[in-house]
Amino acid sequence: MSTVLPGGMSSGTPEAKDARGEAFTFHGDRLVAYRDDGPISQTLGRLSGGQLPPLLPLLVAAIVTGILLIAGVNGQTSPAIFAPVLALLLAGPAATHPHSGRLDWLVPPIMRAIEYVYLATLAFAHDVSKPLTYAFIGVLAYHHYDTVYRTRQRLWPAKWVFRAGLGWDGRLLIAAVATLAGVLPATIAVLTVYLGLLFGIESVYTWTRTGTGKGVMVNLEDDGESPPSAEETAAEEAAERAAAKEASEETV
């Protein structure tokens, strides 16, 4: 499989070597897709050449955004307006990094936390209809879950979907600018409809077109609902033990 990712990175399971020279594989390409970078982040990423690590700057961005949100969201020119620019400058350049660090799996969830919390807080503070805000975050969540489920079935969303979806960076900036201009409620309404149609139609179209054939027997939920340590823990040990103890399982 070789698709070109939003960041311009080629996908496919990257092969890496650890310090001892042992080869291992991981799905860094998926982590990059889960980030959901928009055109601006991707440009910054290309400029940095994938040299900047993603996690530390993102943690700083999360803290800064949190502080700015606490410092004030109510006024039209409140400090929180500047959070997206800072977050973008901090987290954007890592868009092309292979996300090979041992803790880089923290990047996508932190990114989602920044995005959803920022947008929801801004919306609640500026009289956006509350059900509409819920729907808006719901649309974004749909897109982010869909990206995960698709990469697992090797149905990578096309590059243009990420661009047209504006990316986390684009959405934050638009929300900030709309707040400055005093038109946040209308902007959120337009974004909800636009993104809802875009992500919904594109996703349903792709799935129904490719999905009628026999699929691989995967449970998309598996990672989603597994306890943190339980089976990964002693996966090998457990497999050995289970196999040795009973041949009653499906695969001995």
Binding site: H27, G138, A141, G211, E221, D223, S229, A230, A243, T251
Partner: protein, 552 residues
């Protein structure tokens, strides 16, 4: 579509009639076997047999290939394999098995090759069936009369499936063995078992345990040794030695056994009759790794709903849609803002979750897997939960102020719950994607004529733990140890607030209290779960190797 090659070359020791012709209740062993394969849409079925027994097998209504000896058997198999574009099933004509055994190999198997096997431990010096050593589901070494296995832990049950991508290898293996069989000392006899780490004491100790445990197979079933040519075992050994990943498939509950005399045929018939095959299949349709609530409050009976829906020809996607529909109803009840609505909403939500489990069980039971189905299931699970959040938020505002259902404006809590749950899922997804897997090493390739298996992966001695140092390794070790204790096992499952527990928590808190309590409970438990999960995985990540170089 699969092609079946039935090898019926074994004869009953005391007579010259084929073992495949032994009588079962419903006819001959091979007739029964071919019927089972036909019912699994294995349209192309060919029987290989000796000239003197061919007449007896001609009446079966499928192609009979006459062959004079082992080398010719193998050449015929090579010829068929060379032309084949579909998976090939090689099976002894005297195998008595549940249909489900073949169904799993023919319909469910995606491995390059797989073989029916049963774990048996220990195995004596002169086993009556070909032995093998299995490690982590893969057959590491397989034996025949000419190939020794070190520390075997399983027996070959006479069925080998080769995926279409490996039929070429199968043909190569068959041709090579045919050459060897023609040479006077191409294939030498060797003692089938070599003991390396399985000390005699260990075996004696295990023996008592194994005898009491081994309920699945009556001893009479394997009491007669195989005497004739064994092309399937040779081919299995050849595939393993050619570096093909051969997985072991087997089940303690299901019968799959060669019968070599009438007493064994009778015993096999009895063993088959003693098992409720449908029940085994139904139980296998239930995921064995579910959460506490799902396991004890839903899966105990949802499998029967799954069977009921299967009998009526429902599709898993239809059941998914029903489940979605019920949760929309639940959300509507919650949105009424009345106590009766909360009660009915809670009950509906529970049933929405029951049907959520049924769709997966139905898919596995009736073997209806589709990409679309997997997506619908996962996406609708999220949609159900978040729709219910919205219903609860609407109801909380709609309720009469002062009533017990009134929780005030809780939309911000709903958004918080949605955000927390999505971020928690993202942790799971991202952690899964970042997990480092050892790059698969090519499997060892060993010359087919070599009698011993010392060039294959040697068995390891039992390892002692913990290995490595540091906090991360300690955490991994602790986590592994605690898994062995039932209470800890469930505690670890429950604390992460899996889907079953979430739905139960929503239903119960909404029925008893109101939406505000529901969201606060979800946020509190969810935060604890997130800390536990992230903390555990943080420590685990520290045990992972640092990346030195990336070739993207």
């Amino acid at each position: 579509m699969t092609l079946a090659l039935v090898v019926a070359t074994e004869t009953v020791a005391t007579a010259s009639s084929p073992t495949a012709g032994l009588a079962l209740r419903s006819g001959s062993v091979i007739g029964h076997l071919l019927g089972q394969l036909e019912s699994l849409d294995v349209a192309d079925r060919r029987v290989i047999t000796r000239p003197d027994t061919a007449a007896e097998l001609r009446g079966l209504g499928c192609e009979v290939i006459e062959s004079k000896g082992l080398a010719e058997d193998l050449r015929e198999i090579a010829r068929v394999a060379r032309e084949a574009t579909e998976p090939i099933l090689i099976v002894h004509g005297d195998v008595v098995a549940h249909r489900e055994v073949f169904a799993r190999l023919v319909l469910n198997s995606k491995a390059p090759a797989s073989a029916a096997a049963t774990r048996v431990k220990p195995i004596g010096d002169s086993p009556n069936r070909p032995v093998m050593r299995i490690r982590r589901g893969r057959i590491v070494s397989a034996g025949t009369r000419h190939h020794q296995v070190t520390d075997p832990n399983a027996m070959f049950r006479g069925v080998l499936r080769v995926g279409e991508e490996e039929t070429g290898t199968l043909a190569d293996v068959a041709e090579r063995f045919a050459e060897l069989a023609d040479l006077p000392d191409g294939l030498t006899e060797i003692s089938p078992v070599r003991i390396l780490w399985q000390s005699p004491d260990e075996i004696a100790e295990l023996l008592g345990e194994a005898e009491s445990q081994d309920t699945g197979l009556p001893a009479a079933l394997t009491s007669t040794p195989v005497v004739g040519d064994d092309a399937p075992a040779l081919l299995l050994t050849g595939m393993v030695r050619s570096g093909v990943k051969v997985t072991a498939r087997g089940s303690r509950e299901l019968v799959c056994e060669r019968v070599l005399d009438q007493a064994q045929a009778d015993a096999a018939q009895q063993a088959v009759d003693a098992v409720d095959e449908d029940r085994v299949r139904l139980n296998a349709a239930v995921k064995n790794n579910d959460g506490f609530f799902t396991t004890y409050a839903v899966s105990t009976y949802s499998r029967f709903i799954a069977r009921w829906t299967a009998k009526r020809g429902w599709t898993p996607n239809g059941v998914t849609a029903i489940s979605m529909g019920i949760s929309v109803v639940a959300a509507a009840f919650f949105a009424t803002g009345e106590r009766w609505g909360m009660l009915l909403g809670g009950v509906s939500l529970y049933f929405a979750f029951v049907f959520d489990c049924v769709d997966g069980q139905l898919a596995r039971y009736s073997r209806q897997f589709s990409t679309l189905g997997a997506w619908l299931d996962a996406t609708f699970d999220r949609a159900k939960e978040y729709t219910v959040f919205a219903g609860l938020a609407v109801g909380s505002t709609a309720a009469v102020a002062g009533s017990s259902v009134h929780g005030g404006d809780v939309w911000y809590l709903a958004v918080a719950a949605l955000t927390l749950q999505t971020c928690r899922h993202m942790v799971d997804f991202a952690f899964g994607a970042s997990k480092r897997r050892k790059a698969p090493e090519p499997l060892p390739v060993v010359p087919l004529e070599m009698p011993d298996d010392s060039m294959l992966d040697e068995p390891e001695r039992a390892k002692s733990r913990p290995k490595g140092g540091g906090l991360g390794h300690l955490a991994v070790w602790l986590s592994g140890r605690s898994e062995k204790i039932r209470v800890f096992h469930w505690f670890k499952k429950i604390i992460v607030l899996p889907i079953g527990e979430r739905f139960a928590l929503i239903a119960l808190t909404a029925m008893i209290f109101n939406a505000k309590v529901t969201f606060i409970a979800l946020l509190t438990w969810g935060t604890i779960a997130a800390c536990y999960t992230i903390g555990g995985r943080f420590l685990r990540s520290l045990t992972q190797p640092r990346a030195a170089r990336i070739d993207a």
